[in-house]
């Protein structure tokens, strides 16, 4: 799989101003307009004659741009600039779109952006709690990709090295997570994800609907369920420990990090929705490539285990 070329911010700001437009999100639009010389247009809008689209935002906006380009104008150059790490959308051939409240997942190399820019200045304003959840999202990609039954030895060697570098960067607001997150997502795209993502994809819409003030989103769900799911995997099969030993990964250090990403109040708030949607979670395609088999009765583990 060809990976996107990484540009510097200076290179990003030196493109032609006549045929380049920007899609971005409202929270950073002012900064984008101050720092870049290109017109900002509404997402899904591409003026005639445009040759380059710069998409600056979170995973949702980047996936929208990836899908729009592939479906409408494959010749359009797409430059992805993540405003937050975690989703890894800028390096992934996968697009996840909300379609009538359900997650639609498409995967194709043509979705990959041509170029990516890690604009580290954007992380200056990220709240600590948001940064922690984004790190949980990143760790979810790396660990589920590493443990996936579809991962082969060479991929596990690659991800083991990445996990070692991730352990060296503290959970929180640190621009090094931009590149680590991109690597995690690119690696995971070569295998699969698992139950953390099965839960996140299934519960995002119900929780956003029934708890609109709680800020539920993909990163918060991944961060909340990562530790419980990894503990489930550890007790369901000996693969977790075997792989950690085989690939020389500090198991206890990993557990400490994912526990740090965990929020017991968020877990308690999501538990009822987990119970109500368990059957749908079991059917989710991510759940079905979890490293350990997830059964109907596995729900009891999540209902009764005291994640404090």
């Amino acid at each position: 799989m060809t990976r996107p070329v990484v540009l510097s911010f200076d290179q990003l700001s030196q493109k032609s101003t006549t045929d380049t437009v920007v899609w971005t999100v409202s929270s950073i639009r002012k900064r984008v307009e101050e720092r870049l010389p290109y017109p900002v247009v509404a997402p899904n809008e591409i003026p005639p004659g445009t040759r380059s689209l710069i998409a600056i935002g979170g995973g949702t906006l980047l996936d929208l741009a990836k899908a729009w380009r592939a479906d409408n104008d494959p010749e359009l150059e797409l430059i992805a600039v993540p405003s937050l790490w975690g989703s890894g959308a800028e390096t992934s051939p996968v697009v996840v779109l909300n379609v009538s409240g359900e997650k639609s997942i498409r995967m194709n190399e043509r979705f990959l952006p041509d170029k990516i820019v890690f604009w580290t200045e954007l992380c200056e304003s990220i709240p600590e709690a948001t940064a922690r959840m984004a790190c949980g999202d990143c760790w979810s990609h790396a660990l589920e990709g590493f443990l996936s039954p579809l991962a082969d030895d060479s991929l596990r060697i690659e991800v083991a090295g990445l996990l070692g570098r991730m352990l060296a960067v503290p959970v929180g607001n640190d621009p090094r997570w931009f590149a680590l997150s991109g690597e995690a997502c690119a690696a995971q795209a070569q295998s699969s994800v698992g139950l953390v993502h099965g839960i996140a994809h299934t519960l995002e819409w119900p929780l956003r609907t029934c708890q609109p003030e709680a800020g539920w989103g993909h990163a918060k769900l991944c961060s909340t369920f990562l530790w419980p799911v990894m503990e489930y995997n550890r007790q369901a099969s000996d693969k977790w420990r075997l792989y950690m030993q085989q690939y020389d990964i500090d198991e206890q250090a990993v557990l400490a990090v994912i526990r740090h990403c965990y929020d017991k109040n968020a877990y308690a708030a999501a538990l009822e929705s987990l119970k109500q949607n368990w059957r749908a979670i079991l059917r989710d395609q991510c759940t079905r490539t979890n490293s350990s088999l997830v059964r109907s009765a596995s729900l009891e583990y999540f209902e009764t285990w005291g994640f404090e």
Partner: protein
């Protein structure tokens, strides 16, 4: 629990079928959830339950529950009880 009962419980969970609909002669074509991901999930469950890891060729050759029994029986896992 006998190995046959363990396998039945596993396949019901993997393919999300009702116990009343379970038959040992069910084939892939008859089970909506038996796609490539179903095969992956079934292989993970067999390894956890019986300690046998299907090779890629074996996993791809399985078309029915009876095929699973035949492969496992050939590896010495007894389904006669």
């Amino acid at each position: 629990m006998s190995n046959l009962e363990k396998l039945k419980e596993l396949l019901i969970d993997v393919f999300l079928i009702d116990e009343s609909e379970f038959r040992l002669d069910l084939t892939q074509e008859e089970i909506e959830t038996w796609d490539s991901l179903g095969t992956v999930s079934m292989a993970v469950g067999v390894e956890e339950t019986f300690g046998y890891h299907f090779s890629q060729e074996e996993a791809l050759s399985i078309r029915s529950f009876q095929d699973i029994i035949n492969i496992l029986a050939a590896k010495g896992i007894n389904f006669d009880d």
